[in-house]
Symmetry: C2
């Protein structure tokens, strides 16, 4: 049965009061350190209906400055959310550095609810639990403090609370159908909850099962557990975390230096193929909309390799209402304050739509790595985190296409000089481009490592040989149409 981690006896009256006051003061002092060390804190409140989660959140936040916290009640999944991968509803809500987020029930309630009501089969349910484990681990690995409470009350106590709420016209609306259902199926729920708690009980994000039959006692358990975890987080802050072994099947990829770059296409053939493939892609876009298949295309490549023109040949073929191009520059402050994948989770397409990323989450293992914008532990961890991210997209049913647009160093120089010498193109070339060019070898090594480590079978890299830009465009169009064809027929 439930393993009560706060396994203590409720203290007597005066001691209870004294410890509550002490814990409140401790939390009030800790909030300043949380802010100072820019630790994001996610407090997840799960548990039985009528166990008093909302009331306790109300009590806990009294000790925190309103500028430092948010409370979010996860309501019914919206239609928009249903058209996104299931983690997106949660990942997009994570707190900023230095702030608390209190979630009044979250993914546990959602996922166990679907399973209990047979809207998820056992296998799909286990896959979701695995996703949740990864999600919470990604947060804690990236410096988030994740504190999880399960509010526990007995069947009789719940019945009593439900009845008492129903007696008063001012409170009867607080009893939901789901509370009633839970109470009628208490034993069945208990079994599912226990299993869920066990499966998601990670050392870095353990469960606190709160004995919630007495209000003050529940408050004390939450306050003390929270304070304890904050102290630990402050101590462990910015420590490196262990790297995980890769568990995803990989495709063997060549090194950049091994790739011949003399492929080219004649003008006549180019025009013909371009027209044919664009027409085909237009039809497929139509079809994937009807079949509600989402598509994610990521472009990476050398400066001046021809990403922009390549993307344009794709988008020309598409209905503008069904795709978006996301140019990815350096993150803005509100983006930097969160997990680096947050801004990509927020840009995941809806089912039936295409999202094209002009540069992507791979910045983590290229520019952020080489410019020292993240720690060594951060970028070394990122290969796996990215594979996990793309796995979520793939499991959701997305077509994932990743392009590396490849040219050699001489070709880049020619194109830089052309840009510099053509007034209309001069805006395209910056000092930064020249600086990056000086680091060509370091970048090449990083790109090789990235391509080796993230070419999973469900999201392999495709190399676009782009010394002849036309060749690269035709190749990209061909891959995009082929990959979409596989998914919609």
């Amino acid at each position: 049965m439930l393993n009560n981690r706060t396994m203590q006896e409720m203290p007597e009256g005066a001691e209870l009061k004294g410890r509550i006051l002490a814990a409140r003061e401790r939390l009030a002092a800790q909030q300043m350190q949380i802010k100072e060390h820019r630790i994001p804190v996610l407090v997840l409140m799960e548990g039985w209906g009528t166990a008093g989660k909302g009331r306790i959140i109300g009590q806990v936040i009294r000790n925190i400055d309103p500028r430092f916290f948010n409370v979010v009640s996860l309501e019914k999944t919206t239609e928009e959310e249903m058209r996104k991968p299931f983690l997106s509803r949660y990942f997009t809500k994570i707190p900023e550095a230095g702030k608390f987020l209190f979630l009044d029930s979250g993914w546990m309630e959602d996922v166990t609810g679907l399973y209990l009501h047979k809207e998820l089969g056992t296998e799909a349910y286990e896959v979701r639990i695995e996703s949740i484990r990864r999600f919470e681990r990604q947060l804690t690995d990236n410096g988030y403090l994740v504190v999880k409470f399960f509010f526990h009350i007995g069947k009789k106590e719940q019945r009593k609370r439900i009845n008492s709420l129903l007696e008063d016209i001012d409170t009867e609306w607080r009893v939901s159908d789901s509370d009633q259902w839970q109470n009628r199926h208490y034993e069945e729920c208990m079994e599912v909850y226990s299993h869920y708690l066990e499966m998601t009980n990670a050392p870095s994000a353990p469960w606190y099962v709160v004995d919630a039959e007495k209000k003050k006692w529940a408050e004390l358990q939450v306050l003390e557990a929270l304070a304890e975890r904050i102290d630990t987080a402050l101590q462990n802050h910015a420590l490196a975390v262990p790297l995980l072994q890769n568990v995803f099947p990989l495709v063997k990829m060549p090194k950049l230096a091994e790739i011949p770059l003399d492929a080219a296409v004649a003008e006549g053939e180019y025009k013909e193929e371009l027209n044919r493939l664009q027409e085909r892609l237009g039809e497929l876009h139509n079809r994937l909309y009807r079949k509600q298949v989402p598509v994610v295309i990521a472009y990476e490549g050398w400066d001046a390799a021809g990403k922009g023109g390549n993307i344009k040949r794709i988008t020309e073929a598409l209905d503008p209402r069904g795709y978006e191009v996301h140019p990815i520059a350096s993150p803005q402050p509100h983006e930097k304050a969160r997990h680096y994948l947050w801004r990509f989770w927020s840009r995941v397409p809806k089912t039936g739509h295409i999202a094209i990323f002009d540069r992507s989450w791979y910045g983590r293992v290229m520019v952020e790595r080489l410019e020292g914008f993240c720690s060594e532990n951060d970028w070394k961890r990122a290969y796996n985190e990215i594979n996990e991210f793309e796995k979520e997209l793939a499991d959701w049913g997305a077509v994932i296409i990743k392009f590396w647009v490849q040219i050699d160093k001489d070709t880049q120089l020619q194109r830089f000089e052309l840009r510099q010498n053509t007034p209309k193109k001069r805006w395209k070339i910056t000092e930064e481009d020249w600086r990056n060019r000086e680091k060509w070898d370091a970048y090449e090594a990083a790109v090789n490592e990235m391509i080796q480590k993230t070419s999973t079978v469900y999201a392999p890299w495709h190399i676009l040989e782009s010394v002849d830009k036309k060749y690269a465009r035709i190749k990209a169009l061909r891959i995009v149409t082929e990959e979409i064809e596989k998914a919609v027929f």
Copy 2:
């Protein structure tokens, strides 16, 4: 009938082609100037179903770098959106400075649709049109370029296109019920559309009625009109715009200097009243949730006037799942790149919820005015813009409560010194607070002007005399409970 602003004859083949090429090049060049001058461009495409809006958007964006535009298809209003004021769905989507946003149908389709299907009565419809006029004017007054196209085709042409789409299994899904309905009620729709176009045809955001029976011709009309409007916008950029006369009934308010500050409350009475009012507020929160009444509370006041403690006494009484506190600091880059009310429109509460703003949109006429963060024309215009904003909230049914927390200059000095000398409180005082204090008189004049000009009958200011903070807290609680009572009983 429809007043065709592009009233021209379609040119012959070669001329048509030549002019399209010229307009495309012109647009490609203009995008760089739009970016350079940081002009946000909103292109609204409205019109008959099957008139080809999406196709033309596809054509137009070919000339623009994907980093500089977004295309948004407004889909069915979501449940979340239905719980917000109607302009919020549009205001939250406005483009950033230097970028294009193409809207594939927007507020015209929504609002005329509701009216045609009798979901909006005539009076409510006219109110919405007035809101839309204000919304578009607020955008253009604040430097937005708003270009509005209505794609026009005849009844027979629409019938023909619908039938031809229905013939093919790959395209039949493109015909919506609404297209069919429109064609059956063509004359009735025509009348409503004509009236709408007339009513919303402002000099700063005129309608272009596009003859959309021939594709290339439609493209040319759009490209040329767009290019023309961009040229005008580049010329008029950053010019002052006329100030509007106030049209909202105002409440007469005292000047700050006239307000006696000796009001106080005894400790015993304070505790008793605090308990009584908080309990009452808790009940009311419950009730307003059930009645789905939204509440917006804005706090402004001198540094160290006691805003934080005052807000705390309100939130202590509330269910944390039903309110949010929004601390408002200086805007972040992505906020600065949009209309200054954008970040407040994005924080409007849902029906049944309470949003408390710790500082607010009034920063425009205080700190932004005094520190020169906006032009004189900007802040002078803001009084009316803010009254319009709050009118939208009031018409939607929101309870709006605005507090000015008032102390005198000596009291502020005492509190600053106390903060400086108390280690635990030192983080609350910054160099900036001392600098602001030096500008007390200028701020006082600005606050007086603000209170006079924005105390509308639907959203008057309330002064909280806060030399005795306890008195101010009781007064705030009393006002909040009274105002909510008026709305929920």
